[in-house]
C-alpha cells in the first residue's frame, strides 16, 4: 500500500485527533503469529505527534507483540507507515535509525557491560553528547554509577538506564514497554516523575499495565482486546466511563481510588 493511500485510510478510519497534526505512526491491519498462536488479528491505529499515547489492554492481548512487530523484531503482515514512509521490509536497525527508539519490557540492559558502556552504545547518534548531559541531569544515579556493571543495578536503576539509553536517540517516536513492571511503589513514583520530565513534547507509544501510571503520563489511549483495537480516544474519555474501563481492562475506578487522592 503506498503511503498516501495509508494516510487516506487514516483520515477515514483513524480516531479523531483535532490536536497534534498528521500522525507520526500509522498502523494498518497488523497481523502477527507467534508459533502456533495467532496474537494480533488486524490491528489498526495512529499515533499523534508530540503526545503520549498509551497502549492498554489485559495481560496477553498483544501489547508487547505490537511493539516488537513495529520494530520488526517479530515478523508481521500489514502496513506500518512511519513519518510518511512505509516500513515494510525495513530491518530493525534501519527502523531505529529512521527515528524509533525503544525501551523494552524487562529493561534488557547489557548486564555484563558497565553503565557507561551501555550508554556509549547509543552515543553514535547525532547530538548524543548534549543529550547525555540531560540524561545525567534526569537520572543522576547513572552518572554516579557510571563504572558499575549494569547487571548489579537495582530494577529501578536498570529501568533508568534503559530509558536513558533510549533518550540519547534523537527519536521521533519513543516506544516504551511497561516501564513500571516489577518495581516497588516508591520506585514507580520516581520512574514516572522522570518519564514525565523526559517525555515532555516527545511522541511516545507507551505500553502500561498500571492504569494509574498510564493516566498520569498519557493523553491518548488505545485499548487492545482479543487481538484487535477495541477502543481508542483520549485518556480522559476512557477513564470517564467506569463501566467501559472495567469491561476493557478488568479494572475499575474503585481499584484506582488512590490515584485521584494523590493528584
Amino acid at each position: 500500500m503506498p503511503a498516501d493511500h495509508a494516510r487516506t485510510a487514516a483520515a477515514t478510519h483513524g480516531p479523531d485527533r483535532s490536536i497534534g497534526g498528521a500522525p507520526i505512526l500509522e498502523v494498518r491491519d497488523l497481523d502477527v503469529h507467534r508459533g502456533e498462536a495467532h496474537i494480533l488479528h488486524g490491528v489498526s491505529f495512529d499515533v499523534a505527534p508530540n503526545r503520549v499515547t498509551a497502549l492498554l489492554g489485559r495481560n496477553g492481548v498483544g501489547k508487547t507483540t505490537t511493539l516488537l512487530s513495529l520494530l520488526a523484531l517479530l515478523p508481521s503482515t500489514g502496513e506500518v507507515v512511519f513519518d510518511g514512509d512505509p516500513l515494510s521490509g525495513v530491518p530493525t536497525h534501519l527502523r531505529v535509525q529512521r527515528g524509533i527508539a525503544y525501551v523494552p519490557e524487562d529493561r534488557e540492559v547489557f548486564s555484563q557491560l558497565t553503565v557507561e558502556e551501555n550508554l556509549r552504545l547509543a552515543m553514535s547518534w547525532e547530538g548524543a553528547s548534549e543529550r547525555l548531559g540531560l540524561v545525567h541531569e534526569v537520572f543522576p544515579e547513572l552518572k554516579r554509577r557510571e563504572s558499575q556493571k549494569a547487571g548489579s543495578l537495582s530494577g529501578g536503576q536498570q529501568q533508568m538506564l534503559s530509558l536513558g539509553r533510549a533518550l540519547l536517540h534523537p527519536a521521533k517516536l519513543l516506544l516504551i514497554d511497561e516501564p513500571t513492571k516489577g518495581l516497588a511503589p516508591i520506585v514507580i513514583t520516581e520512574v514516572v516523575d522522570a518519564l514525565q520530565q523526559a517525555t515532555t513534547d516527545a511522541t511516545v507509544l507507551l505500553v502500561e499495565q498500571n492504569l494509574r501510571v498510564a493516566e498520569e503520563l498519557a493523553t491518548d489511549a488505545i485499548v487492545l482486546d482479543e487481538g484487535v483495537v477495541a477502543w481508542s480516544g483520549t485518556m480522559d474519555d476512557l477513564v470517564a466511563d467506569d463501566e467501559r474501563t472495567r469491561g476493557l481492562l478488568g479494572v475499575g475506578r474503585a481499584t484506582r481510588g488512590g490515584a485521584e487522592g494523590q493528584r
Binding site: 508459533g35 508487547t64 523494552p104 519490557e105 524487562d106 534488557e108
Partner: protein, 363 residues
C-alpha cells in the same frame, strides 16, 4: 533469557526438519525392497559403470553390505537427530563400541561371536545411559560438543591404546576362530551380506515401531518444543535418554555386523569424522524420514567404496590434476553435494521428488 531474545529462537524454525508424516504403503515398499535386495546374491548380472563386477560377486556384495550397515546406523542416528531433535556428535562411539566391544570380548575372554554380541550391546546400553545422563544436563550446541568429547575420548583410547589391548593405530583384526565358519571367508560374503540386510531391516522395524509408539510421539514433541513437553508434566530428560540409549544399542549392533564385513576394528570407526559422515547420510536422505536415512546410508556406503575404484579406472585422467585429486575423494563430492542440498533442497534427497513435482506414495 530475556523477552526480546526469545523471539525466533527454537528448533521449530529449521527448514531442515520436515513435519512428521506417516504412510501405510511405506512398510510394504520397504519390505519389497528388502526382498529384492535379498535376491541380489543370486543375480549373475554385470551392471557396467555402476559396479565393477557381477551383482552376485563378493566385491559387489561387500559394497552393498557396507551400504546396508551404514543404512541401519544412519536410521538409528535419525532416531535422535531427526525424530528427537538432539544433535549428538558422538554417535561413532556406539558404533565403535559394537565393533571393538565384540572383537575384544572374543579375543580377551574367548567368547563366541554369538555370545560376545549381546554382551557388547548391553555394555553399550549401560554406557549410553551413563554418558547420556551427563551430556543431557545441557542442551543444543553444548550437548553436541559434550557428546563429541566423549566419543573423542574413546577414539583417543583405542588409538593411543594405553592398556595395550586395542591394537593402537593399526586396529584389531578379527580372529575368525571365534566366528562361525559360515560367516567367514570370501565365499561366504553373501551370508554376511544377508546378515547386514537383516540388521538394516530389523533396525528399520524397531525404529519405526519406536517412533510410532507413545514414547516416540513424545520424542517428536520434544523436537518441536521441549518446554511444552515439560509443561505437560512429562520429563523430557527421560525420553531423550531413552531415545539416545536405543539409538546407541542399534548403532552398536551395526558395529558388530561391520566387524564381520571388514574383518577388524580400526580407530577410524570411532573418530568424529564417522559421526559427521552419519549426519551427511541422514541429511542427504532427509531428516526425520527413516527410509531417507536408509537411502542416504546406502548411497554413502556405495560412493565411499566405489569412487576410489572409479578413480583408479582412469575416468578422471583427462582432467587437470587440481580437479582430479579432489574428485577422487568421496568426501569432497559428498560434502559439496551436501552443502548444495542443504542450501537449496533443505528436505534432503527424500524431498526431491516432491520438489521436482513428482508424485510419490508418502514417506
Amino acid at each position: 533469557m530475556s523477552a526480546v531474545t526469545e523471539v525466533s529462537e527454537g528448533p521449530t524454525t529449521s527448514a531442515a526438519i520436515p513435519p512428521p508424516r506417516r504412510s501405510r504403503t511405506l512398510p510394504i515398499t520397504m519390505g519389497a525392497v528388502a526382498v529384492l535386495l535379498a535376491f541380489v546374491p543370486f543375480v549373475d548380472v554385470h551392471v557396467p559403470g555402476l559396479f565393477g563386477g557381477e551383482l552376485s560377486s563378493p566385491g559387489v556384495l561387500q559394497i552393498l553390505a557396507v551400504g546396508l550397515v551404514f543404512a541401519g546406523v544412519a536410521m538409528s542416528y535419525d532416531l535422535i537427530l531427526g525424530y528427537t531433535g538432539m544433535l549428538s556428535l558422538g554417535h561413532a562411539l556406539y558404533f565403535a563400541l559394537g565393533l571393538y566391544g565384540t572383537n575384544l570380548l572374543m579375543r580377551l575372554f574367548e567368547l563366541s561371536y554369538a555370545a560376545a554380541v549381546p554382551i557388547a550391546l548391553v555394555g553399550s546400553f549401560v554406557l549410553a545411559v551413563v554418558l547420556g545422563s551427563v551430556a543431557l544436563r545441557v542442551r543444543g550446541v553444548a550437548f553436541a560438543m559434550v557428546t563429541l568429547a566423549f566419543a573423542e575420548a574413546f577414539h583417543v583410547f583405542v588409538e593411543a591404546d594405553p592398556v595395550g589391548i586395542t591394537g593402537g593405530e593399526e586396529g584389531l583384526s578379527l580372529d575368525t576362530a571365534y566366528v562361525p565358519d559360515i560367516l567367514t571367508g570370501v565365499v561366504n560374503t553373501r551370508v554376511v551380506y544377508w546378515l547386514a540386510l537383516a540388521f538394516a531391516v530389523l533396525t528399520f522395524a524397531i525404529c519405526r515401531q519406536a517412533v510410532a509408539s507413545r514414547a516416540g510421539r513424545v520424542f517428536q514433541a520434544i523436537r518441536e518444543n521441549e518446554d511444552r513437553v515439560e509443561m505437560l508434566g512429562l520429563r523430557p530428560f527421560n525420553f531423550k535418554l531413552l531415545s539416545f540409549a536405543l539409538s546407541a544399542v542399534l548403532a552398536s549392533a551395526g558395529g558388530a555386523v561391520y566387524l564381520l564385513l571388514v574383518r577388524g576394528a580400526t580407530p577410524g570407526s570411532a573418530s568424529s569424522v564417522f559421526t559427521l559422515n552419519l549426519i551427511i547420510m541422514v541429511v542427504l536422505g532427509g531428516l526425520g524420514r527413516l527410509w531417507g536415512a536408509a537411502l542416504g546410508g546406502l548411497v554413502f556406503g556405495y560412493l565411499q567404496l566405489r569412487l576410489p575404484a572409479v578413480a583408479r579406472s582412469g575416468v578422471f585422467d583427462p582432467l587437470p590434476d587440481w580437479l582430479e585429486g579432489p574428485l577422487t575423494e568421496p568426501l569432497f563430492i559428498l560434502g559439496t553435494l551436501f552443502v548444495i542440498l542443504v542450501m537449496f533442497a533443505p528436505g534432503g534427497l527424500a524431498s526431491l521428488p516432491a520438489r521436482l513435482g513428482i508424485k510419490r506414495g508418502g514417506g
